[in-house]
């Protein structure tokens, strides 16, 4: 039996970043990686690539099965490493290409965009069911997209391209798209991770903020 979920709220990009940071932290990421997660998730949502769904898939995988094998194919970890090592010997820009196995492969794309921005280049990216180019402004020339949103682990191939034309400056990108209405079940599932970052209420806790005296003056 199929149930159709009524659309929930459309989160702003600022709220998407906050939710991604907190849920990643709640799932056990350190704060620095939670920040990277927020960046990547918001980027994907901005380009209609369902970042929050991918994030949930990634965090659920971690939660249920915290083996090293899972961590090794984490797209957030691999994405930050690609960006961190890009300019170094053996890095993506030095070699000009990379092949890696990664879960939720689309979550690598924001990191490639960051490299493209910083180093003025572009990348051809492909995995089973997906083929596209990533420039300094985002994903372009999407030739195959059936497998773009896969949560499964795939072997992805990245090839550096010279930029075909001058990169488009960010401030001429145009307005942000209107955020999409999100399924409440998705938000609830991510919120369960985020809740882990809040300290439960208590009398003592309640006294840890606010002023003395009545507000009735």
């Amino acid at each position: 039996m199929m149930t159709i979920e009524t659309a929930g709220p459309a989160l702003s990009f600022s709220e998407i970043e906050a939710l991604a940071t907190k849920s990643a932290r709640g799932a056990g990421f350190c704060w620095g990686m939670a920040e990277e997660t927020a960046f990547a998730t918001a980027w994907l949502e901005r380009f209609g690539l369902r970042g929050l769904d991918l994030l949930l898939a990634r965090l659920s995988g971690q939660d249920q099965n915290a083996t090293p094998a899972i961590a090794e194919i984490c797209p957030l970890m691999l994405g930050t490493e690609l960006a961190d090592f890009a300019r170094l010997p053996g890095g993506l820009l030095d070699v000009g290409k990379a092949e890696l196995v990664v879960a939720c492969p689309a979550m690598i794309l924001p990191f490639l965009c960051a490299i493209a921005k910083r180093d003025d280049c572009a990348f051809a990216v492909s995995w089973r069911g997906a083929r596209l180019t990533v420039t300094n402004t985002g994903p372009v020339a999407i030739e195959e997209e059936a497998g773009i949103a896969t949560p499964y682990a795939e072997k992805i191939t990245i090839v550096q391209l010279a930029p075909a034309a001058a990169p488009i400056p960010d401030d001429r990108l145009g307005p942000l798209p209107r955020p999409r209405a999100l399924p409440p079940s998705l938000l609830k599932a991510l919120d369960r991770f985020a809740q882990r970052t809040y300290v439960p209420a208590s009398e003592q806790s309640r006294a840890g903020a606010g002023g003395s005296g009545s507000d009735n003056q």
Binding site: A83, F85, Y198, G208
Partner: protein, 555 residues
């Protein structure tokens, strides 16, 4: 002199971040002409914005709704206000409140009746409702009950309220939160920051509060008329002028300054550059001298009316009043030689308390609009641009930057209890930010990353033994837990004023110092702490109302 040479000349008068970014000094900040509400009013005036109130639907109990419009050359913004009948026992300024005297949204354009209905269903719920990208800001306010009732009673009887009562409080209502930038579904900042009128920091929020001020006066006059009928009078414009909009602020603002380091840097840099430009002036014109004296007089009046009973503020106010007297005295024999402004400044640094020095800064900036107002344009930040980490930086370079930008942190011994006495966290209760005592309370395991000094020290320690020519990328692969502070370190290289150079988890850290820094940039002029982590202020006190703006002199 070439522009580059002039800039270099000014640069030598810039204060050291090690002096500026200390909590005690940040906590003595005064508003300046670069404060956000001043920037707003200057624009509204020079661009000849007009204002109207197309909707006023209030019953005799002061329950209903209103719309206030600000109409600019290109775009219109509308404050949609809802007034409620709030029982006294439900009145709370804290985040955990669930009902308020009045709730507001700043609408992008002119709202239709369908918009008003949608807002009516959501805005009074605040965090429990949703707004849309057509809204730029969501806020709420509570009455200052005693003053509000006093004013209504007097006006209803055909009399004006008591000046002393007005001075004591300074506002009829105070906002308890003003949300913007994508909160609860409102428009993301990036969607509107390209508009000149919204490109500066907090301009939508300041506009919302300024229009709210007009609403608070309209509401008391309405209630007075409902009660007193033909006998009721309107509030005397001279008395009205002295009323601002209060704001009740707690810990939520503090994490903001730490989480938006590029923004904080740009605010401080603008102000410091302004001071440096003034100090670099070779002479003092008659006009500027008169302007300075007027500013000092205004500061003395303000300090006279500034009221606080809090033991933290009372000695500071005393020091400020003494210092302002000293400054006024000093001006009798000033200007006194070349680089007169710099001489005055250096005297102030040696003779005045922190409150006095920062008040002197504000007064020195005041007559120099033509010289410094352009700096307001640099007070926003492209925070995304500083995000991407450079993994190719070597460990040697990291160590060098740690020494230059975080040397101040290395003096703390974080194994000592008093240095880790506190922890910042988010409560399950309405996600209220709170400050806990590490050794006596639950929750330290869920600490928020505001312990910048401790993080810097920890990274320095973890770097011991690493080869100097190894890349940061390799260190972070082995130690991802230092990624956050590594990013801050790289941002700090080109942003010297981004870091508060104090231990934010130490036992003697006062959160109100952080709050005052941000509130001074907003333009708040009187600070009344209600605890070490809660402060009341007033915005727009003494400044024009919408219908007065066109007739005013330059702001």
């Amino acid at each position: 002199m070439t522009k580059a040479a002039r800039q270099e000349d000014v640069a030598r008068f810039c204060r050291d971040p090690a002096v500026v970014m200390r909590l005690a000094r940040l906590g003595s900040a005064h508003p300046t002409r670069l404060s956000f509400l001043r920037v707003l009013l200057r624009r509204l005036k020079t661009e000849n914005w007009t204002f109207d109130r197309p909707v006023w639907e209030m019953d005799a109990k002061g329950v209903g709704r209103a719309v206030y419009r600000a109409i600019g050359p290109e775009r219109t913004y509308s404050l949609v206000a809802f007034a409620h009948d709030l029982p006294d026992e439900m009145r709370s300024d804290r985040v955990i409140a669930t009902a308020w005297d009045a709730t507001f949204a700043l609408f992008d354009g002119t709202p239709t009746s369908a918009d008003l209905d949608r807002l009516q269903a959501n805005v009074p719920l605040q965090e429990a409702g949703r707004v849309s990208p057509s809204e730029l800001s969501l806020s709420r306010a509570n009455r200052s009950v005693r003053l509000f009732d006093h004013v209504v009673t007097r006006l209803a009887a055909g009399q004006q309220p008591d000046q002393a009562e007005l001075d004591k409080v300074g506002y009829l209502m105070r906002t308890t939160a003003v949300y913007g930038s994508g909160k609860f579904g409102a428009a993301d900042r990036a969607t509107v920051a390209w508009r000149p009128e919204l490109s500066g920091p907090f301009q939508a929020e300041m506009l919302s509060v300024w229009l709210t001020r007009a609403f608070t006066v309209d509401l008391v006059e309405h209630l007075a008329a409902a009660r007193g009928g033909a006998a009721a009078v309107r509030l005397d414009p001279a008395l009205r002028r002295g009323l601002g909009v209060g704001n009740s602020t707690g810990l939520g603002m503090a994490p903001f300054l730490v989480r938006h380091p590029l923004l904080l840097n740009n605010w401080v840099l603008a102000r410091e550059t302004a001071l440096a430009r003034v100090r670099a002036l070779p002479t003092a014109s008659a006009e500027a001298i008169a302007g300075l004296k007027a500013a000092v007089d205004a500061a003395r009046d303000n300090a006279g009316l500034w009221y606080s009973e809090h033991p933290l503020q009372v000695p500071k106010l005393k020091a400020l009043r003494n210092d302002l007297d000293k400054i006024a005295d000093r001006l009798h024999t000033w200007p006194n030689g070349d680089l007169p402004w710099d001489r005055l400044w250096l005297w102030g640094e040696s003779a005045l308390s922190l409150e006095g020095q920062e008040a002197l800064l504000s007064a020195m900036l005041e007559p120099h609009g033509a010289l410094i107002d352009d700096l307001a344009k640099g007070m926003s930040a492209d925070e995304a641009s500083g995000f991407s980490l450079n993994g190719a930086m070597t460990i040697n370079e990291v160590r060098q930057h740690l020494g230059e930008r975080y040397g101040w942190a290395m003096k703390y011994d974080f194994s000592a209890a008093e240095n880790i006495d506190k922890f910042w966290y988010v409560s399950e209760e309405k996600l209220e930010p709170r400050l806990g005592q590490r050794f006596t309370e639950e929750g330290a395991g869920l600490e928020q990353p505001l312990d910048t000094a401790r993080m810097a020290v920890a990274m320095a320690k973890a770097l011991e033994g690493w080869q100097g020519d190894a890349p940061l990328a390799a260190f972070l692969r082995a130690h991802p837990e230092h990624r956050l502070i590594a990013r801050r370190l790289q941002q700090a290289v080109c942003h010297p004023y981004m870091e508060i150079q104090d231990n934010l988890i130490g036992h003697d850290m006062l959160p109100i110092d952080i709050l005052r820094c941000k509130l001074a940039f907003f333009g708040a002029s009187r600070f009344d702490p209600r605890s070490d982590r809660w402060v009341r202020i007033s915005l727009f006190q003494g400044l024009p109302f919408p219908e007065e703006l066109a007739k005013e002199g330059a702001a």
